[in-house]
Amino acid sequence: MGFDTAYEAISEEHDTGHRWAFGTGFSDPLAGVDTAVPAGVDGIDLAAYCLMLGDDALIMSHRLQQWLARTPELEEETALANIALDLLGQARLLLTRAGKAEGTDRTEDDFAFDRGEREFRNVRLAEIADADFASVIARLLVFSTWRLALLARLSTSADPVLAAVAGQGVKEITYHRDYAAQWLIRLGDGTEYSHAKAVASLAAVAPYVTELFTPTETEARLAAAGVAVNPAELRGEFDEVLAQVMAEAGLEWPESPGLAGVSGRTGRDGIHTEAMGYLLAELQSVARALPGATW
């Protein structure tokens, strides 16, 4: 049987029920979506925006993958792996979109493996290392609360690809946020020890929050054109959700002025923390050692 895509091979229409006992009915998020860059949208701006959102997902995903074989329980490992895979899927679509929009046909691999640290556009929250399990939970809660608010608004974007990716992402991130919130509540409302861990983990991520809601010029321009979301609009929903979780967990959100960038430049401008270099060294090691290798 020849199929054009992997999705087709395991879709409901083609599986007569004999080959797979479970697990058909997969769907391609971009099925039927017009992938041409819409008229009136600046391709360079769109590419830059896709890189921002794609890099957030790629780098966060890699940090989560580093938890594999290190979680306190086997079941949590699967949970974090699933979340990492969801984000990697979003990154692949977004980086591919970036190459298409800028007109260079750079592939997702080119973006992930051949760029230097200064060319990555992710927020610094995605790249910082986790001290312990409470840290990854706090970081994931902040990240997914922010990203869910963002993708929910992006699902009506004027760019049909961004809208489709966001629509798929909303379902995924809703689960991520729920997972992280449940765990933070358990930790905050648990033992004295777990409570202290939760407090410390919130204090560690708080300085990276301001950056999430600071729009770049690209984002502001695209938001005006109805393509992007202005992150400044997301703060209200973010604060509301966190307040709800904090109340239930018996924790307090530590206000922080935010970690300053280098002359005002932060992750979105390619200025990262020390952790980023080490992360990329690992992420890119195989591709750098064996350029063009496939498997």
């Binding site: 479970f22 058909t24 306190p72 329980e73 079941e75 699933n82 033992t191 004295e192």
Partner: protein, 111 residues
């Protein structure tokens, strides 16, 4: 499997045993194809809510399910292998209990 409340050993502030033994939960899935919930496996979780989350992550990754049940393994009363004969053998020769005299249409599966 540990019975009883597995969290008992983990009193507030006691960090000497941070990892108590989470109780075992059995997982039942109903697949897209309809039919009934089917037992697919078991996992450990601190409570039912967490068990549901874990079940979602462990057993529905390939689009297998539309509904999940979890139940604590200790809450299941099972027949024992020693009672196999008195429990099940008496039905072995009573073929008349099957509706074999009806014609079953081809379009009706899973009788």
């Amino acid at each position: 499997m540990t019975g009883g409340n597995a969290l008992e050993g983990n009193v507030a502030g006691d960090t000497s045993q941070p990892r108590s033994n989470w109780p075992l939960y059995e997982v039942f899935l109903r697949s897209k194809r309809g039919l009934n919930h089917v037992h697919v496996g078991s996992l450990h979780a601190a409570d039912a809510t967490m068990a549901l989350h874990h079940a979602r992550d462990l057993y529905t990754r390939r689009n297998e399910g539309v509904s999940i049940w979890v139940v604590r393994a200790s809450d299941i009363t099972a027949s024992s292998p020693e009672e196999k004969d008195p429990f099940f053998a008496p039905s072995g020769d009573k073929v008349y209990r099957h509706p074999t005299f009806y014609e079953i249409p081809d379009t009706v599966p899973h009788i």
